[in-house]
């Protein structure tokens, strides 16, 4: 039970008065009559810290366990999962990086995500700008067409999409995967940026048009720089979504030489399971985990803002 400023209390009921059961006194000057209530507040504080620490522990332990395991040799991984490594087996990491193709998976993922992200932001902001700022027949229809993609199960479209891609010669190609990533990122991007462009003032764009700038020049030189905060938020959202994508590449990118990171790791888990190279596998897993976690800790504020922005709108 929490309470307000002690001065306020005195004005109403007095400290620990009947109107305020189990209130907690100020730590500095505890009113003499409220020792039991102080305990209640303290108990609650201990309780909330208790449950919060337990969950933090549950979240962190599996991750720390993986980091620790990646430095152990295979025998101790199997015999005593929670023992500390006898020494830091860095060779697990170099083996994963070279022999287990982690370097190639990283490279493919970087290329695919970089191209998809630029494409998504460019095409998404173009479509969103037109839908947010121009009146034309069919505007509402197109907007809801884009938004509709948010709630449909992607797997339903993947069955025919596989054959569409096959017919177009895009199956198992990098550019094909990039196009699909862009297409499936558009619904949220258009939804988010349309709302964002609507909040920007119209006067600047009008001034640019009166000065003789074309519509497209106004967009690229005036509106896009103004939309930078929105682009950063939706960019972070799409970056994580595309970097972590598993479903789309599993179905559409089955070429073993061109796997993306998440796929490659699963592949690794299957093959290393036969080889018994568990330490190499854990090294690969941690290798894939750390860059994203590191980037998150550095850009924590922006990442949280980017990921929660859509839901709060």
């Amino acid at each position: 039970m929490k309470t307000t400023d002690p001065d306020l209390l005195r004005k109403s009921d007095g400290p620990g008065g009947p109107g305020l059961p189990a209130q907690r006194p100020a730590p500095a000057t505890p009113p003499p009559s409220s020792e039991g209530q102080s305990k209640t507040g303290g108990t609650l504080n201990v309780f909330s810290h208790g449950v919060l620490v337990i969950w933090a522990f549950l979240v962190a332990m599996p991750l720390l366990w993986a980091v620790m395991t990646s430095f152990k040799d295979d025998k101790s991984i199997f015999d005593s999962p929670w023992s500390l490594p006898d020494r830091l087996h860095f060779e697990n990491w170099s083996r994963a990086w070279t022999q287990a193709h982690m370097s190639e998976y990283f490279l493919t993922t970087v290329i695919v995500v970089a191209c998809s992200l630029v494409g998504t932001l460019l095409l998404g902001s173009m479509a969103a700008y037109v839908l947010a700022r121009f009146d034309f027949p069919g505007n509402r229809f197109l907007y809801f067409l884009f938004i509709g993609g948010l709630s449909f199960p992607v797997i339903l479209a993947l069955v025919p999409l596989f054959f569409v891609m096959n017919n177009l010669g895009l199956l198992n190609t990098t550019h094909g995967l990039i196009l699909v990533y862009i297409a499936y990122s558009l619904p949220f991007t258009v939804f988010f940026l349309t709302a964002f462009f609507r909040t920007l003032p119209t006067s600047v764009a009008e001034a640019a048009l009166i000065d003789g700038a074309s519509h497209s020049r106004t967009f690229f030189q005036v509106m896009l720089p103004m939309a930078k905060p929105g682009l950063i938020s939706v960019g972070i959202f799409n970056f994580l979504g595309q970097w972590n994508q598993y479903l789309l590449p599993t179905v559409l990118n089955t070429d073993p030489d061109r796997k993306v990171l998440s796929q490659g790791l699963v592949q690794l888990a299957v093959s290393q399971g036969y080889k018994g190279d568990w330490s190499g596998l854990f090294a690969g897993l941690v290798m894939a985990m750390l860059p994203v976690l590191g980037a998150y800790i550095v850009f924590q504020r922006q990442v949280v803002a980017g990921l929660t922005a859509g839901a709060l709108k």
């Binding site: 209130q23 507040g41 962190a60 366990w65 037109v130 121009f134 596989f162 598993y246 998440s262 699963v266």
Partner: protein
């Protein structure tokens, strides 16, 4: 000028719309059409068979199991995840020892908790699934070994190998990986609720739980509701596919005890060569998704509170 405007609109829309229509809309439309054919996916030929696929689906025991598991997911996971998240967020924002002059206070170290809780959200679902596949390993996994160290040998189990436990293990991983996001989301919402409301309620003698149900929850309801729908779609879609596909034996096993609708679609289409039947199951998944979204919108409708 008008002419220039329409040319500009068309020029800006043509590329995004073409990509979207070709890779998203068109396959969706096709898949609903294919559910009425006998297309195998292996050859381009097919003929219309009416509702044969649907009749077959209703007689397919595996489909009913997958449907039952997916419905369990969509009913249980959002409630558990959002419930936990609301609880933690409330503790973070209101559970603190009162500091001078403040009606409510966050716990010490609230930003630390929020950073740690958010970790799973930035990881690929594939990494999370792999990690827990090893953690659940009955011989060398972290879980059984930790139980052994704590002296709780009786609780050690063959987690993913036991048909009675496997589905719960899968759901626990989804809860583990999604709760943190909602804690942070709800925390942001709670932080924007004016402190005066709490002060007024406390002066009137409201307890902590009353303030939660009478102030926090109603003012946060919009966020909770959109989170509910978001979580439900996630529990029916790509997330549940990835977890089940990577973690479970089979995948979907043991004995179909963890199979879910998206996994069944994938298996029929790309392993079994029954593309038309796969789209039929996909249509069932679409119906479940839309029914869920409609249900939550209806049940969750409240008067919008402005503050």
């Amino acid at each position: 000028m008008q002419h220039g405007k329409y040319r500009f609109i068309a020029g800006f829309l043509i590329v995004p719309l073409t990509i979207y229509a070709l890779f998203v809309i068109w396959p969706f439309v096709q898949s609903i059409f294919y559910s009425f054919t006998d297309w195998t996916g292996l050859s381009p030929e097919f003929s219309l068979v009416g509702f044969d696929n649907y009749t077959r689906m209703f007689g397919d025991g595996t489909f009913w199991k997958a449907l039952q598991h997916s419905v369990t997911f969509v009913l249980l996971l959002p409630v558990v995840t959002l419930g936990l998240a609301l609880f933690f967020a409330f503790m973070i924002n209101v559970g603190g020892r009162r500091r001078k002059g403040a009606a409510i206070a966050g716990v010490r170290g609230s930003s630390f908790y929020k950073i740690v809780y958010f970790f799973p959200q930035v990881l690929s679902i594939a990494i999370v699934a792999l990690l827990f596949r090893f953690a659940y390993n009955p011989n060398s996994g972290a879980l059984n070994s930790a139980l052994g160290i704590l002296g709780l040998d009786g609780l050690q189990s063959n987690w993913l190998g036991d048909p009675k436990l496997a589905l719960w293990c899968v759901m626990a991983v989804i809860v583990w990986s999604t709760t943190g996001f909602f804690v942070v989301l709800f925390s942001a919402g709670m932080a924007s609720i004016p402190k005066d409301y709490y002060e007024a309620a406390l002066l009137d003698g409201a307890g902590r739980f009353t303030t939660f149900f009478r102030i926090t929850l109603p003012l946060l309801w919009d966020t909770v509701q959109s989170g509910w729908i978001y979580m439900g779609i996630l529990a029916l879609g790509a997330e549940s596919f990835a977890i089940v596909h990577i973690m479970t034996v089979g995948p979907g096993g043991p004995a179909d005890s963890t199979t879910v609708l998206p996994l069944l679609v994938y298996q029929k289409a790309f392993v079994g060569g029954q593309a038309a039947y796969a789209t039929t199951i996909g249509v069932a998944l679409l119906i479940v998704t839309l029914a869920f979204a409609a249900l939550v919108s209806r049940v969750g409708r409240r008067e919008r509170l402005e503050f």
